[in-house]
Each structure stands twice: as structure tokens, then as C-alpha cells.
């Protein structure tokens, strides 16, 4: 799920422009955190971003990661994704896309859905308020959880539907 160096620098460039336009400081922490999120397309959670950024900047605090990703979300530089019950995740991909969430392992996968993007907003929804963004989430078993591995007890059986196991 790695992005190419070319993609990353293009994204970073846009990022720096956005920060400047917003009139806020371009700090090494912000750059490192953005680059970490932009590096791959696999929806890292806060903990992961924190851990990886620390390898470059050993002194960054967890608070800074929360604060910074929240800022990026407000600026529209990253999308927030809720893999339903697991940790809050961020995605540097801000082009219109949607998510497939595996209900077993929690994998969150992007896909495009042009037919949906161009679908009209139903009156039932516009009556509720001004729709500013739209997002589809499919839930199901991902390819690696679905058919073959009838085994796999513990590890891959993380709950990801926002609940936990009702103890037997």
C-alpha cells in the first residue's frame, strides 16, 4: 500500500501550501506527521502514526499527534475514518473514495464508486440539513478472512464492529 516518492512529494507540496494559506506554522512535527500519513494508504491509527513519527523525531508527544491530526482533519488534509469500534484512523487520501471494512480483522480498504458519487442526494436527506460530504461504507469479510482460513482463532478475531464479545 506504499505510495511512490513522486506521489508523496506532490502531496507534501500541496500540504505545505495549505498550511501556509491557513496562516499557521509549518513545524517539523507537522511535516513528519503528514508525511507519515501520506506514506501509505493503509489508514494508520494514532498509535501507529505516533510510533513511526517517533523514529524521526524521538521527542514528539502523543498529544501533538492527536492535536495535529485533528488540525489536518479540520483543514481537509486528511479524512477521518471510523473502522467501527476500533481506533480512530486517518487517511491522507482526500479524493472521493469509500471504504470496505472487514468485520473480522478490521482491515479498512478504499474503493472508488463513481455511480454513487454522481447519484442525486435524496430529498429525505437534504431535508435534514446541508450535505457537505458523503461516504459509503461496506461491511463484510475481506478476501483474506472470508473463505479459506477456517482456522485462526485468536489473533485475527479482533472485534471491529464497535462491540466486544459477550463472554460465554
Amino acid at each position: 500500500m506504499k505510495r511512490t516518492p513522486g506521489e508523496i512529494s506532490k502531496m507534501t507540496e500541496r500540504f505545505e501550501g495549505a498550511i501556509r494559506r491557513a496562516g499557521i506554522k509549518l513545524t517539523p512535527q507537522r511535516i513528519a506527521i503528514y508525511r507519515e500519513v501520506a506514506r501509505t494508504a493503509d489508514h494508520p491509527d494514532i498509535e501507529t502514526v505516533f510510533r513511526n513519527v517517533r523514529r524521526k523525531l524521538p521527542s514528539v508527544s502523543l498529544d501533538t499527534v492527536y492535536r495535529t491530526l485533528g488540525l489536518f482533519a479540520d483543514l481537509g488534509l486528511v479524512m477521518t475514518v471510523r473502522p467501527l469500534g476500533y481506533r480512530l484512523r486517518f487517511d491522507a487520501n482526500t479524493s472521493p473514495h469509500h471504504h470496505f471494512v472487514c468485520t473480522r480483522c478490521g482491515a479498512t480498504l478504499d474503493f472508488e464508486y463513481r455511480e454513487f458519487d454522481t447519484l442525486r442526494i435524496p430529498a429525505a436527506a437534504s431535508a435534514l440539513g446541508r450535505v457537505e460530504s458523503r461516504h459509503v461504507e461496506f461491511r463484510g469479510l475481506c478476501a483474506s478472512c472470508a473463505p479459506g482460513p477456517a482456522r485462526s482463532k485468536g489473533k485475527s478475531a479482533k472485534r471491529t464492529n464497535g462491540t466486544r464479545s459477550h463472554r460465554p
Copy 2:
């Protein structure tokens, strides 16, 4: 957003049948929790369910509410909804519907979207796994947050996009 007594008893009836078919116990706690979630359509969070159920059963524990709603979700009796950053919420409405989430006040409103329900699943998504459920989320400002009230500083300004304010 109240449901009528008629709706509620019909739902409760189905609920009791489902519990029996699942071969698990029909306890007063489970009944009270289900009825509380079925009572309205406004997506209560755990805390709210807990508080209201306690008025009927003063001894229920928070753990029981978590456990029980998780069980219901597994049985398909409630849907889990992530209003993006706020508390996990549950919805007893299991008929196909979608959500409008207010990015200011966190209100989570249902709407139907037949055109989407009948849209074909794109190949890009079915390649990722077997799609078992599909859900649309619109984000924006709800009717009461949108135009008029230019005031309202603190209270109604809860962040609901999974982030928090970057302190100035």
C-alpha cells in the same frame, strides 16, 4: 423521535423471538435495554441507555449495558453507528436506512435512500471481499445548526468529527 406503543411492542415481540431462537436467556436486563433502545429513533449512546435503564432497574451495571448491546449488535437486533468521534451509538432500526451526521452538534438522523439501496455494488468493492451490508453517511450541518443561530459558543460546539479543537 418517539416510537408508538404499537411499533414498540411489535419490535419487542420480534426481539424476544430472536433471543429465544438464539437459545440464550431472556433476562429483565436484556428486555429493559432493548426497550430503551427501541423506544426512540435518536441513537442513544451507552451512557444514555445506561442512565435510562437504571430508572427501571436501578442495579444494572455499565458492564451489562456494554455486554448486552454488543450481543444485540451481533444478533443483528441493533445497528451500531459511529457518529464519527463521539460515543458509540446504537439504533434499534434494522431496516435499510442511512445516516446524516451533523458535524457541529453530533445529531445523527436517519433517512431512506432507495436509489442507493438498489445500486449495484461496484467491482472495485466486490474485489475486496464479500459485501454483507452497505451504509451511506452524509456529513454536514443539520437544520438547527445551519443558518440562524450565529450565537451559541460553547455548548453546541461539541466536536463530532473524531477530532478535537487544536488549541489556539
